[in-house]
């Protein structure tokens, strides 16, 4: 019954009881909020990941009840297990805040900061990290390292210049596919993700590397430059897929499915399927099923990530709030049935159409009818 042993751990003065063997990071995530250290390389669904980016460094001010000595160095919270009575300082430690700002600066040193043309922008962990823990400018004044873009097959684009070498995609290929065909070449700051000799990755589950990539280094070629993620409406959907769980998030605009991703939780990690296994999705679901008719739509997805992608979407745990006054209250009792996407329908800009007078939800046809009737 040793698994049932509960350890008391205090993170930023908040105490929680967790089972023995839990890492500091997981314990802090159970508390939630700003107590949870950021993680760029750790991915709880990937065995062996973590420890590399060093953004999750925390100070252990008390080792345990038995041995209260503090740990001499900052430790990587994603790979350090808790001890009974451990006291951890995350954002309450000046050392941690200082070290983390340094790490963010290091991570951004060779990052192109091409967010305006990057598909990951809006759901990028590095953006969030630098916004929350970094400084507003860099002290780096030299040329950044660059790489040529590579095609990893017909679906995946590798933009190595943006890579922060978190190794998540390497672990993904190791653990989801029979044979890993890409890896890290070279070392140091010229290390790169590569297939050595230009090779296409076409394992059925290799598309998941796009979901695990914390930055825009691996992107979905069926979605590249199609749209910004914050303009899309995430919808939970599923289909009966023979090879994977088939539980996905569709990113729609109007009726059009722009992209399909796995469902991600508030830490940006793949959610577990009902059977308790991580809900990885197959390439067919991800790249080929781009019609709403392919899917059974369950409803809008809550995005609880605190980045720009959550803005303007459904209220999540953090960030956006629902306004208290209703439309009807401020509009003389008239209730508009606006459930549409104004961007995809240019005809909507017609002042003669009163949306509140429509029966039922409005769509493009409403306006076309109006035009025809006029």
């Amino acid at each position: 019954m040793s698994e049932q042993t509960l350890f008391k751990v205090t993170v930023d003065n908040i105490t929680i009881e967790v089972p023995a063997g839990t890492t500091i990071l997981q314990a802090a995530r159970q508390i939630g909020g700003t107590v949870a250290p950021p993680a760029m390389c750790y991915y709880s669904k990937l065995k062996g990941s973590g420890g590399k980016c060093r953004t999750c460094l925390v100070e252990v001010s008390k080792g345990s009840e038995k041995d209260p000595r503090p740990m001499p160095k900052l430790v990587a919270s994603c790979r350090t297990t808790v001890m009974d009575g451990m006291e951890v300082k995350n954002i309450t430690s000046e050392k941690v805040v200082d070290a983390r700002a340094g790490i963010v600066e290091f991570l951004l040193l060779n990052h192109p900061l091409d967010c305006p043309i990057c598909d990951q922008a809006g759901e990028c962990h590095l953006q969030d990290l630098s916004f929350e823990h970094g400084k507003s400018s860099t002290r780096y004044e030299f040329q950044r390292r660059t790489f040529k873009k590579h095609d990893l097959g017909i679906h995946i684009q590798l933009h190595m210049t943006r890579c922060i070498l978190c190794y998540r995609c390497v672990f993904t290929a190791d653990q989801l596919t029979n044979k890993r065909e890409h890896g890290i070449l070279d070392r140091g700051d010229h290390a790169e993700i590569a297939t050595h000799i230009e090779k296409s990755l076409d394992n059925e589950f290799i598309g998941n590397v796009i979901d695990v990539c914390p930055v825009g280094a691996l992107t979905d070629k069926t979605f590249r430059f199609k749209n910004r993620v914050w303009f899309l409406k995430p919808m939970d959907a599923h289909r009966d897929c023979p090879s994977c769980s088939g539980r996905v998030t569709l990113w729609n605009r109007g009726d059009e499915v722009y992209r399909v991703t796995a469902r991600k939780d508030e830490w940006g990690e793949i959610e577990d399927a009902p059977d308790g296994k991580p809900g990885w999705i197959c390439n067919t679901c991800r790249f080929d099923k781009k019609q709403t008719t392919d899917w059974v739509i369950e409803g809008p997805r809550e995005i609880s990530r605190h980045s720009v992608i959550a803005q303007g979407h459904y209220a999540g745990n953090i960030g956006t709030t629902i306004p208290t006054e209703t439309f009807a209250a401020i509009n003389n009792g008239r209730t508009p049935h606006l459930l549409m996407d104004i961007h995809s329908e240019s005809e909507v800009n017609q002042p003669n159409v009163h949306l509140g007078e429509n029966e039922g939800p409005s769509n493009g046809a409403t306006f076309n009818n109006n035009i025809n009737n006029a």
Partner: protein, 450 residues
């Protein structure tokens, strides 16, 4: 003449071959260990000897051995770290090249004590000819019954395998070495678990330096207590020092750690003084990663005591005024050497050798090199010095393995002790391209703390 335990027979002609080595008393320690001693008593002798790891960190070897986990039915391994790549260190090469059987004997005893039936020597790829020498020696030892099945009728099997590295400095880090030995990319592992619990192929493993394992032979021969009498304090036994730089007699020397730094540099028995009658400027006493020491702090500690060539004395004063014994790569810089250029050379090395796994080291080493390059080329700003200091501070202690620290320390120490030379480089941009700061750092004669 100091005591010689390891290199005593190094000059005997033909000592590289089994016959001569055996005639000179070789393998008698192995015979004694396997036939007369128990596993516990060997570990006990090594513990008593106070032998400290010769690879750089100076961790007590006997203690390391006692940490090894002994689960039932799981093989254990001993790995000899011969990936000696620290700039300035070449003691293991000398030992393996001239006394391969001494290492094999040490490995045999240690394997017996640790219960390792398959022992590995991970040798750096650049030591190609040394690897051949070792392989020949292993063949000879096997032929004569010192390796293989049922050694000396004790029922103990041991085979030594030589594995050539591919020339990465990082593979000298024990977990990176294990990864590389397993055939993977040489990235250091995140500890814990430590190799003593889960090492090579997730089996309990001990990784020791060449010199540490060779030193087991004299320890078994003379007994741990006798060995501990040599040297001083916790620096027991003898240490190989590879001296290089601007000295008259570069080479590998065996010292008993009671000699002062001044004697070591100026006596004819060892370095023989600074070459070409120049003056001493600075010294990196333990391989490139340890902090550089200016001449005044090298010969005397900040308290004014004589500095000796041993673990404690070299690190006296911490990093503020001391350094480290490290791996024994003793590099002397004379008055013609430029500290900025020297620091740049080291920074370039660490940038090149960083594995790129964790971000502070991967990005920070490259950044430091670029800034140093800029200062060296006469394009630096005064603010660059503070920036360098800040970068090294953010690398140190925040990385997975000690390479980050090793990259940060030389830069930190150079700025700490020679900030005036950096400033001179920046303030005299043109002059610094044609002339040298020399000994302007010091009062004449060199001020040694009283």
């Amino acid at each position: 003449m100091g005591v010689k335990l390891l290199l005593e027979k190094a000059n005997v002609p033909g000592i590289r071959t089994y016959d001569v080595y055996r005639r000179e008393g070789g393998y008698s320690a192995a015979e004694k260990a396997l036939k007369e001693m128990t596993i516990e008593s060997i570990v006990e002798e090594v513990k008593k000897s106070g032998l400290r790891g010769r690879g750089g960190a100076g961790f007590p070897a006997g203690m390391k051995w006692s940490f090894i986990a002994k689960p039932e039915g799981v093989p254990r391994h001993l790995v000899c770290n011969a990936d000696e790549s620290e700039p300035g260190t070449f003691k293991d090469r000398y030992l393996m090249e001239f006394l391969p059987h001494l290492l094999i004997e040490g490995l045999l005893i240690s394997s017996f004590a640790l219960g390792s039936n398959d022992t590995y020597i991970y040798i750096r790829g650049e030591y190609a000819w040394v690897a051949t020498i070792l392989e020949e020696a292993i063949e000879e030892a096997t032929k004569n019954g010192w390796l293989g099945k049922n050694i000396l009728g004790t029922g103990f099997d041991c085979m030594i395998h030589v594995h050539r590295g591919a020339g990465a400095y990082i593979c000298g880090e024990e977990t990176a070495l294990i990864e590389s030995l397993e055939g993977k990319r040489g990235n250091p592992r995140i500890k814990p678990p430590f190799p003593a619990i889960q090492g090579l192929w997730m089996r309990p493993t001990v990784v020791n330096n060449v010199e540490t394992l060779a030193a087991v032979v004299p320890i078994i021969k003379m007994g741990g207590d006798e060995y501990a009498k040599i040297g001083v304090g916790r620096s027991t036994g003898t240490k190989l020092i590879s001296a290089c730089g601007n000295i008259n007699k570069p080479g590998v020397y065996e010292i008993d750690m009671t000699i002062s730094v001044e004697d070591f540099i100026y006596s004819d028995e060892y370095c023989g003084g600074i070459a070409n009658g120049k003056k001493l400027k600075a010294c990196i006493p333990g391989g490139s990663s340890v902090p550089i020491l200016p001449a005044n702090l090298l010969l005397k500690t900040a308290k004014g005591e004589t500095r000796y060539m041993n673990y404690e004395s070299l690190s006296d004063g911490g990093f503020a005024t001391g350094s480290m014994m490290g791996s024994g790569g003793f590099i002397i810089l004379d008055e013609d050497q430029c500290i900025v250029k020297n620091t740049l050379t080291l920074a370039r090395f660490y940038r090149h050798e960083s594995c790129g796994q964790c971000s502070p080291c991967r990005e920070g080493t490259g950044w430091m090199e670029k800034i140093l390059q800029k200062i060296e080329a006469g394009k630096g700003e005064i603010s660059d010095i503070d920036l360098l200091w800040d970068i090294q501070r953010k690398i140190e202690g925040n990385t997975i393995c000690p390479l980050g620290d090793a990259a940060a320390w030389p830069v930190a120490a150079a700025i700490r002790h020679f900030r005036d030379e950096f400033e001179w480089h920046i303030n005299n941009r043109e002059l610094s391209q044609t002339s040298n700061f020399g000994l302007q750092h010091y009062a004449d004669p060199i001020h040694v703390p009283a």
